[in-house]
Symmetry: C2
Subunit: 551 residues, 2 copies
C-alpha cells in the first residue's frame, strides 16, 4: 500500500510525524476522463498516466491455492464514502498476448475496471491463491469540505458460504483509512516557477517591465492573451495557485474564483491539464462581491503562535467586520472550503473598508534573512505623512507628487489638505485593526513588520465611505525570491530621485531585497489595481509534508 | 460566564478534564416559543423559565463612567454561526415600576431582546460604566451534525469613532467559544426513571405484567393509550431517549425516529414539554426502512478499548453489511446525526439478516457486579440446540415446546428438522460476525458475553432469506436495574418448569439479576416483536460529564 512511510498502515488515521494512515489525491487534473463501455457497463481508466494520480493499494494474501468452495473476498465501502472515492483494478481476464498487443497499438491504453465507487458499494475481488499481491488503484473525487472531513475507509471481507439457500456471511474484515490531500496554498517565500500576466491593448510597457524582471530572475512567464482575457487584466483575482501532495505524487491545483470576470474561462481552458489540477466552488443563492476575488486570498509564510506551529503558514482572507450587516463578504462556500482544508487555518482580516476590498491592497510578505525569515509589509498612511512632512521640513515643500503629469500636486498642498488627513486617519485605524489581528494570529512582534509609506483617499459611496490608494500602492507588489516588482509611486523628486522609492528601498534593501519599480499608473492603478492584482505566481510546493502536522 | 468550572473561559475550546471553553444547550424543549412584537420587530423571550435552558454570558467591564464620545461596544457573530445561536439580554430601558407591574400581572413574563442571531449578525450593546457586569443569555438552536461541529464563537468589539463622515473602526475584540451539548444516549446500566408502554385492545395481560414489574421496582409507568397509538405498539421503535448536559442545567431529549408508524405523533405531542426536549431528522430522497426503527439503535455501557476510554459507552446501530447493494440501511441523515455527536462513537453491526432487522433482536446489555460491570447477552442458536440436545439425552425428547398450545412441537421433532438446523447455522454465522465486531469495538472477552438459547427460523423472502425468532426471543428483554422482564419462551417443561427459563435463570441469577418472564406471545411475538420492542425506558443521565472526554 502506498502510504506515508511504506510501513503497513492501520485501519485508522492519525496526524503527525508519529501518525499513520494512507493518503489519497483528488484526481482533478485533466487526464481523468472515463468512458462507459457500452457492452460491459463498467467504468474504465482510459489513460495509464492517470494511475500516477491514484494511490496504489495492495491486497496481500497468504493462503491456500484456492479458497474453499463458496468462500469469496469482497471489497466494500459505505454510501457516503462512495461519493468521494473510486477503486480500480487491472482486468485479470485479459490474456497476456492481448495486453502486449494493446501496448503496441496504443502505448497509454490499458484496461482497468472499477471495483467500488459511485453506485457500486460492494464487489467481489479475485483470490489469486498462495502468497500473492493484488494491486488496486484508489482515486479521490472530492476535496475536504464543510460536510466531508477527508477520511475514506475501504473494507475487505472474507465471506463464508452457508448452504445454497443462504447468503454468505462475513468471517473476517480488514480496512484501510485514507485521508484526501488538502488543497495547499504557497506563500511568497516559496520559490517561483512561473509568472502569469495578461496582455491587453493598453499595457505594452507594463508587460515589457514584467518580462524583463521575470527573465532576469530566470523564471518562466505565461502571457494570457486578449482573445482569452477579453480585457480583464486582474490575473490575481480570477484564480489562486495551490497544490496537493502525497508520498507518491504531487501536482499543482488551481482554485478558480467564483468572481467570474471576463477571465473566467482561463483557469479551466488554459491551466487545467495533465498534472495540473482544477477545483472551483460556486456561490449558492448569493451574489458574489469584489471580496470573492483572490487578491483577497493570501497565505502567510510558516509561523509559530504561542507554541503552536503552522509550518505551511496560515490563510488570510478579507471580510466585512464587524459591521457585517451592511458589509460585503467572501462567499460562504469558498470560506467553508478554505476552513475545511485544515492545514493552513485561515485568519479573517477586515478588508471591506476598501473600495475594491482585497487584503493585498494593504499587506504582503517578503523573505528576510533573519528573525522569522520574513517580514510583513503593511501600507501605512502614518509612514506616508512622515515622509511628506520630512520633505517639507527639509525645504522640499514645493516638490511635486506625480511630477510632470496632469495630476501633479505639491508636498505643501498635500499636507494642507485637511479632508485627506481625516480620510487617512480613518484608513490608518482600519489598518491598525488588521495589524493587531495579524500580530496576534501570526505571533508577530513590531520588529517583524515594515510600514510602507502609502496614502489613501476615501471615495464617497452612497452607503459607506470606502478607500483607494492615492498613488500607486507599493505594498501591492510581486515577490519573486529576493526580487520585488513594486508599483512605481510617482513621488516627489529629491536630487532627481523619487523620495517614496528612496524610502521603500531604505526599508527593504537591508534585508537583501532588490527593488524594481514598475510603472502601472495608467493600465492598472487608475483602474484601482496594481502590479500584484495584475499578476499571479505559480510556486514550488512547501518541502513540509502536510500529514506531518500535529492537528 | 457559565462555563464548566466557573473559571473564566478562553477564546477557544478544548476537550478533556484539563480543557476549557463554554457550554451551550439546544433549547429544544417546549417553552422555547417566541413572539414577534409587531411594533418593535424584535424577538422576545416569552417565558422566564426559558432562561434556565440558556447559558448565562457575563460582560465584565471596568472603565470610565461613560465611554468617550462616539465609542461603542458591539457584539457580532458570523453568518454561519447565526444559524445555530441566539443571544438575548434584558431590556435596560424598561422602568423598574413597569417590571414590577409585569411581575404582578404575569409571573413568568419578562422582556428580553435579541442581541445577535438569525438575520442580526451585529448589534450595539450598552456600556453601563465603571466596574459593571452585563448579563446575556445564549441559546443553542442546532445539534452538532454532518455540517456543524458544534462550536460557536461570539465576539465583542470596542469601536472607535473616526470623524462624522466615517464608520467606526474596531480597536479591541474579545471572544468566547461555546460547544453545543451533544445528544447523549443512556445504556441499560443507568438507573430507570420511567417506563413507557402502549395500551392496545389485545395486550391487557401483558400490560398488567409490565405494570406489576415496574411497580415492584418503584419506577414510574407511562401508558400511551390507543387514541394516540392507533394500534402501533412498538414503543421502542418510534423514539430513543437521551439527554443534553451543561454545568448549569440538563434535561432529557427524545430523538423521534423517521420511521413514522401510527405512533408518530406521540413523541411530539406527549413527550416534548417543559424541560423535555425533542429532536428529529427526516430522511431525504430515500424511503425509510425497518432499520430506521430505534430498536435498531442501542448504546453500550462504558467501555475501554485498547486503552481508549468511552465513559459514555458506544452507540450501536444495525446496517446492511457487507452485501449493501441489495440490503436495507439506516437512513443517512440519522447516521450522520449520530456520528456528529462524537461522544459515543457509533459501531455499525449487521442486522439486515433479520426480517425486522433490529440489533435488539440478537443482543442486549445487563448490569453485573464484576468484570466490566456489565455482560453482553447474545441470542445463540448453538446454545439453543445444546439445551434441546441435552433434554433429548436426558430422556425428555417427547417434551413439548409451546406446551398446551396449538403450535406445540416435541424436542425430538425440533432436533430432526434439517431445514431448521441449516437456517440456524446461517443465523449463528450472522450473530458470530456481530460477536467479533462487538468484541473488537467494545474490547470484550468471551467471559464478558453470555449466550442465551434462542432458535430462529428463516422466512423465504423474494430476494433474500431473512430470520425471525422461532420462539419468544429472550434477549429482547426490558432491563430495570437488577430486574429483567424477559419474553416468556414457552419451552419444554421438565419437572413442571420451562427448561429454557431454567437455563436463562442459571446464566443470569449468579450475577444478582432477577428474572421475570412475561407472556408476550400473542400481542407481540406473533407480530415479530417482543418485550423490548414494545417498551421504552427513560433513564437518569450518566454522572460522567461529556466535556471531560479526551477527544
Amino acid at each position: 500500500l502506498v502510504c506515508r512511510s511504506n510501513i503497513s498502515v492501520y485501519g485508522s488515521w492519525k496526524w503527525g510525524p508519529n501518525g499513520h494512515g494512507a493518503i489519497l489525491l483528488v484526481n482533478c487534473d485533466s487526464e481523468s476522463t472515463y468512458k462507459k463501455t457500452l457492452d460491459s457497463e463498467v467504468d474504465e481508466i482510459s489513460k495509464v498516466s492517470d494511475l500516477q494520480d491514484m494511490s496504489k493499494m495492495i491486497l496481500r494474501t497468504n493462503g491456500p491455492a484456492e479458497l474453499p468452495e463458496g468462500y469469496k473476498l469482497t471489497m466494500h465501502i459505505s454510501q457516503t464514502t462512495s461519493e468521494s472515492v473510486r477503486v480500480f483494478r487491472p482486468q485479470t481476464n485479459v490474456q497476456k498476448d492481448n495486453v502486449w498487443k494493446h501496448k503496441l497499438l496504443k502505448l497509454f491504453l490499458k484496461d482497468y475496471i472499477m471495483v467500488v465507487g459511485t453506485d457500486m458499494l460492494t464487489q467481489k475481488v479475485p483470490y489469486l491463491g498462495g502468497k500473492t499481491e493484488l494491486e488496486f488503484f484508489v482515486e479521490g473525487l472530492h476535496f475536504p469540505d464543510r460536510d466531508f472531513d477527508g477520511l475514506i475507509t475501504i473494507n475487505l471481507s472474507l465471506l463464508e458460504p452457508c448452504g445454497k439457500d443462504f447468503p454468505e456471511t462475513p468471517v473476517f474484515t480488514d480496512k484501510v483509512v485514507f485521508h484526501v490531500s488538502p488543497w495547499i496554498m504557497t506563500p511568497n517565500t516559496l520559490k517561483p516557477v512561473e509568472v502569469y500576466v495578461c496582455s491587453t491593448n493598453d499595457n505594452y510597457s507594463f508587460l515589457k517591465s514584467i518580462k524583463n524582471l521575470v527573465e532576469k530572475c530566470g523564471y518562466k512567464l505565461k502571457i494570457c492573451h486578449e482573445y482569452m482575457n477579453r480585457g480583464d487584466r486582474w490575473m490575481q483575482d480570477e484564480l489562486e495557485f495551490g497544490y496537493i501532495d502525497s508520498p507518491h505524487h504531487q501536482f499543482p491545483v488551481v482554485l478558480d474564483s467564483p468572481r467570474d470576470g471576463d477571465l473566467q474561462d482561463f483557469p479551466y481552458e488554459s491551466i487545467l491539464g495533465p498534472d495540473f489540477g482544477y477545483v472551483t466552488r460556486h456561490a449558492l443563492n448569493e451574489k458574489v462581491s469584489s471580496l470573492d476575488s483572490f487578491g483577497n486570498l493570501e497565505v502567510s509564510p510558516p509561523v509559530t503562535v504561542n507554541g503552536k506551529s503552522y509550518p505551511l503558514g496560515r490563510i488570510l482572507i478579507g471580510v466585512a467586520f464587524p459591521t457585517a450587516t451592511r458589509g460585503r463578504n467572501m462567499t460562504q462556500v469558498v470560506q467553508d472550503f478554505l476552513w475545511a482544508q485544515k492545514v493552513q487555518e485561515p485568519i479573517a482580516l477586515y478588508s471591506d473598508w476598501l473600495v475594491v476590498g482585497h487584503v493585498d491592497e494593504f499587506m504582503t510578505f517578503v523573505p528576510a534573512p533573519d528573525r522569522k525569515k520574513f517580514r510583513l509589509l503593511l501600507a501605512s498612511p502614518d509612514a506616508g505623512y512622515k515622509v511628506f512632512k520630512s520633505l517639507q521640513n527639509n525645504g522640499h515643500g514645493k516638490a511635486e507628487m506625480f511630477p510632470g503629469l496632469p495630476e501633479a500636486i505639491s508636498v505643501n498642498e498635500i499636507l494642507s489638505d485637511k479632508k485627506l488627513q481625516a480620510e487617512n486617519r480613518y484608513v490608518q485605524n482600519c489598518i491598525d485593526w488588521n495589524r493587531d489581528v495579524l500580530k496576534k494570529e501570526l505571533g508577530l512582534d513590531d520588529e517583524d513588520i515594515i510600514d510602507l509609506p502609502i496614502l489613501f483617499k476615501v471615495l464617497e459611496e452612497k452607503t459607506y465611505p470606502r478607500a483607494v490608494a492615492y498613488y500607486p500602492d507599493m505594498v501591492n507588489m510581486i515577490v519573486l525570491g529576493d526580487q520585488l516588482g513594486i508599483p512605481k509611486p510617482f513621488g516627489p523628486k529629491v536630487n532627481g530621485r523619487c523620495a517614496l522609492e528612496t524610502e521603500a528601498c531604505s526599508l527593504l534593501e537591508p534585508l537583501g531585497l532588490k527593488c524594481t519599480f514598475i510603472d502601472d499608473l495608467t493600465p492598472y492603478h487608475k483602474l484601482l489595481g496594481e502590479v500584484h492584482c495584475g499578476s499571479n505566481v505559480l510556486r514550488e510546493p512547501s518541502p513540509f509534508k502536510w500529514w506531518n502536522l500535529e492537528l
